[in-house]
Symmetry: C2
Subunit: 331 residues, 2 copies
Amino acid sequence: MTIAKLAKVSHTTVSRALNGSNLVKEETREKIRAIAKEIGYTPNISARGLVNRKTFLIGVFFSEMESGTSPSFLVDVLNQAREALPTGYIVSVDSIGNYKGNALPVGRYDGVVIISQAESDDVFIDQVRDQHIPMVVLNRQLSREDIVNYATDDYLGAQLLIQYAARMGHERIGILEGHPKFSSTKERWRGYVDSLNKAGLQFNDQWVKVGDYLPKSGYDKMKELLSGSAVPSCVFVTNDDMAVGAIRACEDLGFRVPDDISILGFDDTEYSKYLVPRLTTIKKPTHALVRKGIVALTNLLSAKNVTNRTETLRPSLVIRESVANVRNETN
Amino acid sequence: MTIAKLAKVSHTTVSRALNGSNLVKEETREKIRAIAKEIGYTPNISARGLVNRKTFLIGVFFSEMESGTSPSFLVDVLNQAREALPTGYIVSVDSIGNYKGNALPVGRYDGVVIISQAESDDVFIDQVRDQHIPMVVLNRQLSREDIVNYATDDYLGAQLLIQYAARMGHERIGILEGHPKFSSTKERWRGYVDSLNKAGLQFNDQWVKVGDYLPKSGYDKMKELLSGSAVPSCVFVTNDDMAVGAIRACEDLGFRVPDDISILGFDDTEYSKYLVPRLTTIKKPTHALVRKGIVALTNLLSAKNVTNRTETLRPSLVIRESVANVRNETN
DNA sequence: TTGAAAGCGCTAACAT
DNA sequence: ATGTTAGCGCTTTCAA
């Protein structure tokens, strides 16, 4: 190797010097460092990976990258992951869909974090587990104990919202659902129905519409909802992206928000607090979730054991202005 | 190697069989394939990379991932990149900031795409070039010819906007700038000033505010702007994210958009068409930009030469409802 | 059509 | 404190 020749030492010494081994004289180390810098030496990752069985690559996999996963959430995850990982690690992004069927190349990833939205991800999850690649699954609650899994309590989030609406006097509460296959959709739906029951409120078929978590569906479905014979006084739009479209639809049909109709969101996106009206929504502890996940993964990487193998984080209600207080009307 | 033993051939033959060499009997190949599948064999990427000098990893680097780069743009880039790349390649994400100073490990990336926002990225760009890693720089126009570089014409975009506002009769046009260090900020500013001049419109110091491309700054700065002694009739808010905040600020101070004040955006984000009012903005050909970039990079990877080494793509004006027609007033 | 041997750049075990 | 040697898993000559 060039650098070894220049320094007149063996390449072993070079390796040691550059890796901070204490088996080199400080003087030698300095000389080697200088030369390395001089000629712009950087280690060959493949060679190093081959002997160490480490690639310093963490794969982040999303159920669906093109749609369904909101961009801000995706970027949030990526940023948190990069920050929380030990130095030297880099992060790749991919869609689970790309791997349906074929296994991940062995030794390609030191670890994997899966941002799962739907049960259909399970075949991929099983595959990765069978390959014994360190893995954490985030975002969606798995019903098993063999995998490190952190999720937000969507069920609770929905309940918080509906309870709040009920407290504000709403009795006719509709729902605009997200992507039908997503677990979050199912959990939010459960929270909605259960809370309605607990509050002794009526359930009405006409007030439930199915969207896909994208703004357009919020717009289209809200229009449908408002065109029905009976209109609810409040609609639980199950994410903020759809809420933007939904509010637009209200506007277009002459319904003022929240005076004529109240809107509940979910996610507390960056722009939610600037909408007209400012959105009452649910804030998910995304940062904490991802951070916990990465910490666990880091432990897994160094073969430490993870104590909290599974956990559900509590979201919180963010009250703003999109829900009207209609208690007086009913008194 | 296990698979070699099981098939009773040498590992050389296994390698050949799995890589589609025609130097193996079809029968042998089948047998090997079957066994490989059976035991779930996947090649070791590091070993392969070591001999082939390929890692099948493309690094995507952003100026700033945490702020400044809008999430939807970032995700768009990532998706386009993944789709346009030949199969087998995976994509990593990183922030240029992480590499200030130290060089990229040699052989870590087969190629690199840089989404550049600011001139300060040049040191990183130079470094990568010095390492002779195939690279394309997107988003920001470089003033050099030695690097493949595609960008959107921000200057033109700004002109389109201001010309439109002028056509609608606006004479007092303000601006809410983005992150001061970003090239896009400078280009949009140039377009603003030049168009004002061409239209013979007055320029007023009080009507220019500096934000950072995030919604909050849109809100804060617009409030400042509206609190001045003389208020413009139209404000060029230099991206849609800030426009959301800006519209909110107008609302809070009792200015109706567009009746009392008109707003121009930039980017045409997913939600722009659902805002109240729907935003008149600039649509950037992001898909085409990234796709061109990846195609060029792919050519670079296979040592083909790239014909269009540099190009500026034209954005287009999207007229919606955030600008009032005030021509009558001035007649 | 197959195998044997060499070597990619690195780290680690074992001298010295 | 440093060098020698071997070997990680793969592809690629070179022989057979």
